[in-house]
Symmetry: C2
Subunit: 242 residues, 2 copies
């Protein structure tokens, strides 16, 4: 088994650079932290850095490193002694019936939570707009609790994606507190795309104009708005449940 | 208008101590940051610290301070030039029909989001267990986006509270992936209490045993669990919507 003991090793330095989106995109690789996420990421693993040989994972390259190296590469304060190096996800948009479109979402926690809910409510594909938080951001991955590895997720222009979905005969629903129809007045269908918007500003007007209809989640006027992760999950659950 | 210019002023030192739960409880007071939250907190305001006289709020004591003092007391990195000092909420549990009970919730973001959803879906009262995160934790207040000032919220033993609710003829529903009934099989009622549990462990067995029924939110098996804020909001929305 290959061994690296210096934090100044060139390979470790190269991996450290994966902390920035620019370098992730260039190398089409990202890091995951800890036993649970490394296990969930298995199909995307390129190599694993471990401190103890007993943690070796079959089918990928295992590199023995020091805890100091793990701490340098980890994004958590008290890391477990394992880090996975993963390939980027493939871009597949074939055979999708239920699609979640995220327009300019910025909060990694919201995106991670929405990935969990999308998996739970049987969505086929998540599309993050180019101006949203990075898919491979460590906080997004952590907040998804590994769900990110079990669902198709791509980054693409939302307007472009809406055109593709319409060509496939999929209805696209925006979310908006103005001009929308109450969720519970929608027929429960099995094939749809849902657009959620930025935490402060909602879905962009140009995108709303491309949607077939707009949904709003009924609520008391005394609340200004629901959290976007909550609103999106309520809508996905509605169409999922019988 | 009273003026304080030194961060070593005794009053400022006393306010600084409100950053810990122990001192908040002793003084029955807490701090809120920024224009939006201070405005929302109006009915609880005891005094306001401002940097500019034009920000003065009528009906409470205004104290002119320096930006250095604001920075010392604020819990944000780039604070707005206003901080409110608030009285604790009153404990009222009369005339409630819809109650949200939170058993050992630890994540301030989850609690803040649930407060927003509870307000939006017309709950009357939120009860945090004694082992949950503090109501007056600055992250809870911020995540609630001010909703915390528009709904009754108390801290109390959950088992005790369940007894009180049962005496009032309110049915209490736990949440559990085992032995529960699917949400959509529940009749939409107007009077109920819902217990949500700890992020990792769910609702304590001893509390579940006191519940009339258990609810689970239908989802795909490939997801281990929903985020507690999501699950709770889906349930509250279900009973709220017609």
């Amino acid at each position: 088994m290959k061994k690296i003991e210096s934090i100044n090793n060139e390979h470790i330095k190269a991996l450290y650079k994966l902390k920035t989106k620019k370098n992730r995109d260039e190398n089409q690789m990202f890091l995951v932290d800890g036993y649970h996420l490394v296990k969930e990421a298995q199909q995307y693993l390129k190599e694993v850095l471990i401190v103890d040989e007993k943690d070796a994972i079959s089918g990928v390259e295992n590199i023995l490193v020091t805890m100091e190296i793990i701490k340098k590469l980890s994004s958590t304060e008290t890391p477990q002694p394992i880090i996975g190096v993963c390939h980027y996800f493939k871009e597949e948009i074939e055979a999708v019936n239920r699609v979640l479109l995220l327009d300019n979402l910025q909060d990694p926690g919201n995106v991670g939570t929405l990935i969990r809910s999308a998996l739970g409510f049987n969505m086929d594909l998540i599309v993050l707009s180019n101006d949203s938080v990075d898919i491979y951001n460590d906080k997004v991955i952590r907040a998804s609790q590994g769900a990110i590895f079990k669902i198709k997720i791509i980054r693409k222009d939302i307007c472009e994606m809406i055109e593709i979905l319409k060509d496939k005969g999929i209805k696209v629903w925006g979310t908006s507190l103005k001009n929308g129809k109450a969720l519970n007045d929608f027929e429960k269908v099995n094939k749809y795309a849902l657009v959620l918007g930025n935490e402060g500003n909602g879905v962009k007007e140009a995108i709303l104009n491309k949607c077939d209809k707009c949904i709003f989640v009924e609520m008391e006027k005394k609340l200004e708005s629901l959290n976007v992760g909550i609103a999106g999950s309520i809508i996905m659950h509605y169409f999922y449940s019988k």
